[in-house]
Amino acid sequence: MTNAGFAAETDLAIEARGLWRTFKGGVEAVRGIDLAVRRGEVFGFLGPNGAGKTTTVRMLCTLLPPTKGSATVAGVDVVSEADQVRRRIGVALQEIGLDPLQTGRELLELQCGLYGIRGADGRGRTAELLALVGLTEAAERRTKTYSGGMKRRLDLASSLVHSPEVLFLDEPTTGLDPASRITVWDEIRRINDAGATVFLTTQYLEEADKLCDRLAIIDAGQIVAEGTPEVLKAGLGADVVSIALDGADPDTTQRALDGLVGLERVVPEPGGLALYVSDGAGSIAEIVRRLHLNGLRVGAISVARPSLDDVFLQATGRRLEGATDQAAMEEAPA
């Protein structure tokens, strides 16, 4: 191995090789994934429900042993040195793990105690974290009285008591209202700025796009694309013209557009067609003309730069589940 190669390896906060998990009954949730997450980056793990995101996180957090393959977190093996891994990671799982009978302050002080931060140090760290996540005022209330956003922020704070090197966040904004999501995003940025590597699973495209330095897209237990959001989108190299068919026949529509200048490919999607063309805006007039000549009446036609959803579509042949939900959430009042 070269020195450069060695330096690159020690730079990794998370490394997985051929990670595989089969559950009882033969369900293969994760099928041989490789990961290389550099120290200090926010790494996104994007995929629909059931893609294998949570199973991967549980393996990396030592909650679940891999069936095959290996992984290190903060340079430590997740199976043979699980206890060492647990000292170096913070975890906020999809299910918000709070004791409803404890107050916010009690929960954080207990968490401090479990990580060996005791007495005045524990109380000080608790006060610091409560202030960080904006829960000082609610600190003496039992957590069962907290809103979803407050619970998520407290859960996040509890994963930070020991200033972990690597923070795992499993769908940290699922189920939150838009305002709470933005608060959580701000926290993630702040945590990352403070030096922690963040491994973030999400099914929200905008979240991955805005927060992540790099990301991997997982589908059916396998990684289907990996890179920075910009590189992944640029890799499509074309504008996307979306046509809502509004009852028009997809095959006839597609035939009408055959030979369109700059058309790279056509991907059918529910209720429409996605045309990948080199100059989207410049092609609109010709698309409309061809549809008119063929007597085809369609709904809306729009042009956009490729999104991560287009990357997902390109890699898997379908749109990411939840993309519609997210659009609806974004339109909903805060």
Binding site: E95, L98, D99, L101, E106, L110, L114, G116
Partner: protein, 251 residues
Amino acid sequence: MNELFLLGRRAVIAVIRLPEATIPTLFIPLFFLAVNIGQVSETFPKSTPFLEGQGYVAFQIPVSLMFAVATATSGLALVTEIDNGYFDKLLVAPIRRSSIVLGRLAADLVQGIAGSTVVLLAGIAFGAHIEAGILGAIVIVLLSASFGVAYAGFGILIALKTRNVQTTQTSFLLFFPLLFLTPNFVPFERLTPLMETLARLNPVSYVIEGLRSLVIQGWDADKIGACVLVIVAMGALLTGLSLRAIARYDR
């Protein structure tokens, strides 16, 4: 040790903060005590030989004590935390997994001491007196609470194995046959031969006999010894299986 103290204290606080979970576990033994005495005390007056001059309430106190301490509280608390995700939070903390179970059992000990004290005082209020004296009463409370701790391992085991709230809740029902296949209403020798055989095979019988001896007869080393032996063996078995289950949880 620190984590065991922290988790034990948390579990005790939870018991105090959730009285609606504890009160029913006290209502049932007190109800049984009152009903059994009301129904049977005419049949077994103080002159009945096996009562040795006491009222039937003295004979029934150990049965109510068993009802008071043999609960699925810990198992339910644990399976609820498995369900709501807090259990995972504890599993990823750098602590011994055993402290999660032992912390729960610490709360069972406290709850058992409180519950059996209430039942014993109720028995005394109904006219029983403790033949073994105040020290005997303390031993009764400690043995009952210890039995509660030993039995709690069963609920915890079910919680860890099934991860299902309903199953853990209904596991408590398994205690009823164990409690009723005993000399709970009359001594061994007054049971039918079949029932006597079954009762003599049932370890809970010896716990009841041991506690009863302290109430009615005073200090009987053989019966107390058998009672302690059963509690220790049951505790070692069920706690041991629970600790093994949590050590192997998702591994």
